[in-house]
């Protein structure tokens, strides 16, 4: 406000003023009806003039005029004191009258600012009255504010925002099925590009009343009632957020003690909820809350950021603490996926958190979220290492019957197959680790023309996992008494590993060279099996010069019988063994068949053994060989009767 002292006898200024005044007078003569705004402007001018001209308003007319206007405003404000209905419900006319009255009183108070109160009893008295009116009006505004905030709050239904990750359906045990990787990756790409914050803004307050709230904010802050405004605004918005958190999203608060003692199944579903809630609350709700604060308190930056941080703080801390509790807990391997999910969700939201808590007031919470990300990464790495430990530690004293696929093999392969979905994150985590720790994983493979993925940190870790698995399988295979079954077991399991890798994204991480090598490995076990089982059996049919002639003569029939006995023994045992992969089973049967049948036919043909000495014809034998590795108990009598 320009005080009266500032007016200097400036001729040029006077001339301008006189010209403007003439202009105004001329215009006033021309129009009949003044708009409210114009009338108010002129009234302000009038007051200003009266204060300036009278030096102080102790002389008659102007003081009476000011008092009249004060009285008018007072009546307008006090009129509502006894009224139970809300001004903003009554209509825009009443609202603007009420706000107009406040504005009027405020203008009067401001215009007194240059007047020494102590010198002027009249002014002092008017000021007291004006302040009193402001107090009553502010109390009223606060009530109106709360009323509007409570009655016009809006919640968006979380269903409309599709954040549900397909990964939510992964079951972390050995029976889990393959995931639809494409859709996961597609959704991930979308969310990764989500720097467009405006996309997720929703209305938390009916947009119609936002200008009303802004008007109240302006009036209260102009009257230095910003503390009262903040208390009411923060309180109402905190309650709305709490209601959203607990009632709409049906989330719960947990103590750290609770989380650490939680059963795994409960914890994993709470983690999924957290992931989901983080996105909805931070990306949508709080971003919208910030926008709302900006709309209502735009121009009052300090108040605005203070309000937002106060509203959101408790919720931020609650989300943060759940994360802390999970990161503190044990790191069993099955937790890895949850930890990685949390890591990715937080990593993805970190920019948004930074921008929401950009100001000083929330900076320590912002830093804590960064710290939490680091902790989650650390826990994820630990869980990964736990997997390796768990594989090594998996020790059963009994061999797996029938030599089939060990549950550990299935578990590990399904586990690492799922890991490839998280390849970017894992590579990042392992790279961090390599720079943090001094010992990095170095591999001896030196092939040149291989895709770089094959040597990314994740690939190295994956290969070390499968080699740990191979070691464990070799240890387990030693539990078998028969050498043959040992080879069948290893052949089965390595074949399974290779198939899993060939048939999935794991292929590029392991590389063709690795696959070739391991195909060789299981084929080697197939060969070893044949040697272990059939060498001794076929030795009865072999015509080699090592035996003396007399023995040979008497024993052709005998050797045929012994061969039959040996074959029957093998049959009884090996039909119970199991090769689950049909192709592998077929291949092994064919090569076995070729070997055995050929030797048998040759032996019978060359030695002309009559049919009565032959228990099984070549065809019989061929058929019997088809029963091998079916994993079912068979007796020979049945098969012979055909």
């Amino acid at each position: 406000m320009a005080g009266y002292q500032s007016v200097n006898p400036n001729h040029e200024g006077d001339q301008h003023l006189i010209a403007a005044a003439h202009h105004i007078l001329k215009l006033l003569g021309a129009i009949r009806n003044l708009s409210d705004d114009t009338r108010k402007l002129l009234a302000d001018l009038d007051i200003h003039l009266s204060i300036m001209t009278g030096n102080t308003i102790n002389n008659g007319g102007e003081a009476i005029e000011v008092e009249k206007r004060l009285k008018c405003a007072e009546r307008m404000v006090l009129r509502w004191q006894a009224n139970q209905s809300m001004i903003w419900d009554t209509g825009p006319g009443e609202v603007s009258k009420f706000l107009g009255a406040i504005d009027e009183v405020q203008t009067l108070i401001d215009s007194f600012s240059g007047v020494s109160v102590n010198e002027n009893g009249r002014v002092r008295e008017l000021l007291y009255r004006a302040n009193n009116i402001v107090q009553v009006a502010m109390l009223r505004l606060q009530e109106e504010l709360i009323h509007i905030l409570v009655h016009h709050k809006l919640y968006f239904e979380p269903e409309y925002v599709s954040f549900h990750s397909c990964r939510a359906d992964v079951i972390y045990d050995e029976s889990f099925v393959s995931l639809e990787d494409e859709s996961v990756e597609a959704s991930q790409r979308v969310s990764n590009t989500g720097s467009v914050s405006g996309e997720y803004i929703v209305d938390l307050i009916h947009p119609q009343v936002v200008p009303d709230l802004k008007a109240i904010a302006n009036a209260m802050i102009a009257a230095n009632y910003d503390q009262e405004f903040c208390a009411a605004f923060i309180g109402a918005r905190q309650d709305a957020l709490n209601e959203y958190f607990f009632v709409i999203l049906e989330l719960e608060k947990f103590s750290i003690d609770d989380v650490l003692k939680m059963k795994w199944s409960t914890l994993s579903s709470e983690i999924k909820k957290w992931n989901w809630a983080m996105k909805i609350i931070i990306r949508v709700y709080l971003a919208s809350e910030k926008q709302l604060c900006n709309k209502i308190l735009g121009g009052f930056d300090t108040v605005c950021s203070l309000c937002f941080v106060e509203i959101a703080k408790a919720t931020f801390l609650c989300l943060l603490n759940f994360g802390e509790a999970v990161a503190m807990g044990s790191t069993q391997p099955e937790k890895l996926f949850c930890l990685l999910d949390m890591y990715e969700v937080l990593d993805d939201l970190l920019l948004e958190i930074d921008s929401l808590l950009f100001e000083e007031a929330g900076s320590y919470i912002r830093i804590e979220f960064h710290e939490l990300l680091r902790k989650l990464g650390h826990s994820a790495r630990q869980a990964f290492q736990e997997l390796q430990k768990a594989i090594a530690a998996d020790s059963s004293m009994k061999p797996l019957p029938r030599g089939g696929i060990h549950p550990l093999t299935r578990y590990v392969m399904n586990y690492i197959k799922t890991l490839t979905i998280y390849d970017d994150t894992l590579n990042l985590l392992f790279e961090d680790q390599n720079t943090e720790d001094t010992h990095s994983i170095v591999e001896s493979e030196t092939e040149q023309d291989i895709s770089p993925i094959t040597f990314c940190p994740l690939a190295c870790h994956l290969r070390s996992i499968t080699s740990a698995l191979e070691c464990s399988l070799v240890v387990k295979s030693r539990l078998y008494r028969e050498d043959s079954l040992r080879h069948i077991f290893l052949m089965n399991n390595i074949h399974y590993v290779v198939q899993k890798i060939k048939g999935s994204d794991l292929r590029i991480f392991f590389g063709d060279e690795w696959i070739r090598k391991h195909i060789g490995k299981f084929q080697q076990h197939a060969t070893s099996y044949q040697r272990a089982t059939w060498c001794s059996v076929l030795s009865f049919l072999r015509d080699d010069g090592h035996c003396s002639n007399s023995v040979l003569k008497t024993s052709y029939k005998e050797r045929c019988r012994e061969f039959t006995n040996a074959f029957e023994d093998v049959y009884k045992i090996q039909t119970q063994w199991c090769i689950t992969d049909p192709q592998l089973k077929e291949d092994l049967r064919i090569s076995t068949s070729l070997k055995v049948i050929h030797a048998y036919r040759t032996f019978i043909g060359r030695n002309r053994i009559s049919d009565k000495h032959i228990k099984y014809t070549v065809d019989d034998l061929e058929k019997l060989l088809l029963d091998f590795f079916e994993g079912t108990w068979r007796t020979l009598r049945n098969s012979r009767r055909r």
Partner: protein, 393 residues
């Protein structure tokens, strides 16, 4: 002597021991000496927190009053110091297998369990400080209204409303013992609006600071339940520092619960399960007795929290309300003079709160993270011994 003097020699010892890592069994004497020093440091540090006795000549530097924000911050500093020394004694340069031997194999998991409970208390207190900040803001409104000149009816009414809200809020918090009840919904219309679509009880249940049914008093009770002073040969071994540190943790958490509003304080134990003859515990026991007495008074009187600044707000708030009740326009000058002293004190209290509360909150977070880290370090050591499976909850 200031604590930092010990710090130097103490760290020196650690580095000496680092060089002796291999000869673990041989330095039993060294260990006894470390334990001796630890006890002395604990005793000294807590002695510094004790209020100066009237018989002693007062120092030049005025000490922070007990249970003030500044005092609590010192208490937390002491905690952090003791924790650092404790870990140095128990973990640094020590063969991990010693930690998994009885009785530590039982005592350490118990301690880690206490740690978890302390973390939840830290969170509840962090939330409680929000309530205290809310009180501060209400008091600030009163101060700024009453300091305004010219001073008239409007300002008095404004101040009165803020003060009434303040006193009600502090009393409500005390009665509910739960999270602070908000007092933003002033006035009849506002209250009606807030209660419109849900009962206030439901609203309150929405603002649990920790979790439903969580009780600070119960957590404190659980923390002290299995805290037993080591006896016989254990009393001179590593069981002692574990006991000392657990006692400190319990005392610090108990003090914060008694001082700062937090969820469910009713039934907070005033018994401190520490034998009176322990030399290192003398100052802690003294402080505990003093605070427990205050707490009992508080329970009887139903006054606000024990935090010194809150008690000030309560006292000054009440007296200023009396003033505003009897206020007549125009103000009698002498009455206004009388009030200005109270007002200045309230203003000073608000200033101290403004300066101290947020740093206190940050410091509690620091304590939180320290406890998390210590717990993780112990779990790592135990993991090395292959005992993690029993512990990892």
């Amino acid at each position: 002597m200031p604590a930092t003097d010990y710090q130097g020699s103490f760290l020196g010892r650690i580095s000496i021991r680092r060089n002796q890592v291999m000869s673990m069994e041989g330095n039993h004497e060294q260990e006894l000496e470390d334990l001796e020093l630890f006890q002395k440091h604990v005793a000294d540090r807590f002695a510094e927190l004790a209020p100066p006795s009237p018989s002693q000549p007062s120092d030049d530097i005025p000490s922070d009053p007990i249970l003030s924000i500044a005092w609590i911050r010192k208490l937390l500093d002491v905690f952090l110091c003791c924790d650092a020394e404790f870990k140095a004694i128990l973990i640094m340069g020590r063969d991990p297998s010693q930690i998994s031997k009885p009785p530590l194999d039982r005592l350490i998991p118990e301690m880690l369990d206490r740690d978890v409970k302390a973390l939840d208390i830290c969170n509840a207190i962090t939330n409680g400080i929000e309530a205290v900040r809310h009180y501060q803001k209400l008091a600030e409104i009163a101060v700024s209204a009453l300091e305004q000149r010219p001073f008239g009816d409007g300002q008095v009414k404004r101040a009165r409303k803020a003060l009434t809200s303040l006193i009600t809020a502090m009393a409500c918090e005390d009665k509910d013992g739960a999270n602070y009840t908000r007092t933003w919904s002033f006035g009849r219309r506002g209250a009606a609006a807030a209660g419109n679509n849900k009962s206030t009880g439901q609203l309150r249940s929405l603002s649990w600071s920790v979790s439903k049914n969580w009780s600070a008093a119960k957590q404190i009770h659980a923390m002290s339940a299995n805290l037993v002073a080591p006896r016989g040969t254990e009393a001179s071994g590593l069981a002692l520092p574990v006991y000392i540190m657990s006692t400190i943790l319990l005392f610090v958490m108990w003090t914060m619960v008694a001082t700062i509003p937090c969820q469910e304080r009713s039934g907070l134990a005033t018994h401190f399960p520490v034998p009176k003859q322990l030399v290192w515990a003398q100052s802690i026991i003294g402080l505990h007795e003093k605070i427990a007495e205050e707490w009992k008074k508080k329970e009887k009187k139903g006054s606000a929290g024990l935090l010194e600044e809150m008690q000030k707000l309560d006292k000054l708030g009440q007296s200023l309300i009396e003033f505003t009740d009897s206020f007549q326009f125009p103000a009698e000058d002498e009455r206004a003079e009388e009030v200005s002293a109270h007002l200045a004190e309230l203003g000073e209290t608000c200033r101290r709160m403004e300066e101290g509360l947020v740093p206190l909150q940050v410091q509690i977070r620091e304590v939180f993270h320290r406890i998390v880290r210590s717990r993780a370090e112990f779990l790592d050591v135990l993991d090395l011994n292959g005992k993690s499976s029993a512990l990892a909850m």
